[in-house]
């Protein structure tokens, strides 16, 4: 093999390998300033000039035009409370207490973050929708078919994620999101 053949082969491999690794990272779970809280994860550095190239690329792909943490914290989960991927054929109960924010909602997305077609034309549950018990706790159902109470349809998509938006977060939600009290997502049954 001639010298230039060796250079050409290594440079081509380097080009493809470097680009492929970057794509893998952007689509993967890791980012700097990534906070994990149970099955939820959030980024506290999005939208800021100090964000790393990787964080900026990930946010551009999965949440373009997202607000910085002081204005809104976005928590995303792709698994239930036992770590199993969220599946559109299954029924889940989302349970939580009062969240320390001006307003919150939970939205269901597929893929990189797209609303899922469903017959009910419903894609999110706002914080004021579920009824509270005496302790201020609430719950709603995520499932492919209608249920009693507040229902968020999966639209039958194979896999989905849930995004918890908290606008004007306060207290632990903003300052200690890894330890803030967040909703739980419990799988009940699968069709």
């Amino acid at each position: 093999m001639k010298t230039w053949h060796r250079f050409a082969a290594c440079i081509a491999l380097g080009l493809v390998g470097g680009a492929a690794f970057a794509v893998h990272q952007v689509r993967g779970d890791y980012a700097d300033k990534q906070v994990h809280n149970g099955q939820w994860s959030a980024n506290t550095n999005q939208g800021t000039a100090s964000a790393s190239a990787l964080t900026r690329a990930k946010v551009a792909l999965n949440g373009l035009l997202a607000l910085p943490a002081k204005e809104a914290m976005y928590f995303i989960t792709r698994t239930d409370s036992e770590g199993r991927p969220l599946e559109g054929r299954c029924t889940y109960t989302v349970t939580g207490g009062e969240l320390d924010a001006r307003w919150w909602s939970v939205t269901l997305y597929k893929g990189e973050g797209w609303l899922v077609k469903n017959a009910a034309n419903r894609w999110s549950v706002a914080g004021n929708a579920p009824a509270r018990d005496a302790q201020g706790n609430w719950s709603f159902t995520v499932s492919p078919n209608p249920t009693e109470g507040v229902w968020l349809p999966t639209g039958g998509t194979p896999h989905f994620d849930l995004t918890l938006r908290t606008y004007h977060p306060r207290g632990a939600l903003l300052n200690d999101p890894a330890n803030a009290k967040l909703p739980t997502v419990t799988r009940k049954a699968c069709a």
Partner: protein, 173 residues
């Protein structure tokens, strides 16, 4: 044998590092450019496009919130400052966020920040001057997106919210 491959491998590793960093750096610009094209097709540059509610059939950008109504302006300050006036929507969360071409947030003003008064920002690059009465926001890039989010809690509120938001303007000086 090893000697023959040493420099080609070093060259390959260097190229891979550049390719890795290049993809990471280029991704935000590429996706923001695409978003500006999509949003820019709905209204001329330096003017607001008042988007409809987000649904499965209306998703101009990734991860839209169906609880918010969005108004967006693709701005270009290369020929002068762009003035953004946002009408306040009483009793509702609203915010104006300015994103540059790298996706960084250059400014955010919400009803909390303005005390319920309208927001008035002058988007400009270094060397330009903000007109009186406008808060200057100096940008690192000429182009970007100004985005208004307004929360509404029931569909019945939409006509009122829609009428108020259409008083907001984005215009070049």
């Amino acid at each position: 044998m090893i000697r023959n491959w040493m420099f080609p491998i070093i060259a390959g590793l260097l190229v891979s590092a550049f390719a890795w960093q290049g993809v990471l750096l280029a991704t935000p610009y590429a996706l923001m450019s695409k978003a500006m094209d999509v949003i820019g097709a709905r209204a001329p540059a330096n003017s607001f496009a008042f988007g409809e509610l987000s649904t499965a059939d209306n998703q101009p950008i990734v991860r839209p919130s169906p609880d918010l109504v969005y108004s967006s302006c693709v701005f270009d300050v290369s020929k002068g400052p762009v003035l953004v006036d946002v009408a306040s929507v009483p009793g509702h969360y609203w915010s104006l966020s300015i994103f540059d071409a790298r996706t960084d947030v250059a400014a955010v003003r919400s009803d909390r920040d303005t005390g319920g008064k309208p927001a008035r920002l002058a988007l400009m690059k270094a060397g330009q001057t903000a007109p009186q009465g406008y808060e200057p926001v100096t940008l690192q890039y000429d182009r970007g997106i100004a985005l208004i989010r307004i929360l509404f809690s029931s569909p019945a509120e939409y006509p009122v919210v829609d009428a108020i938001r259409r008083k907001s303007t984005c215009k070049q000086v």
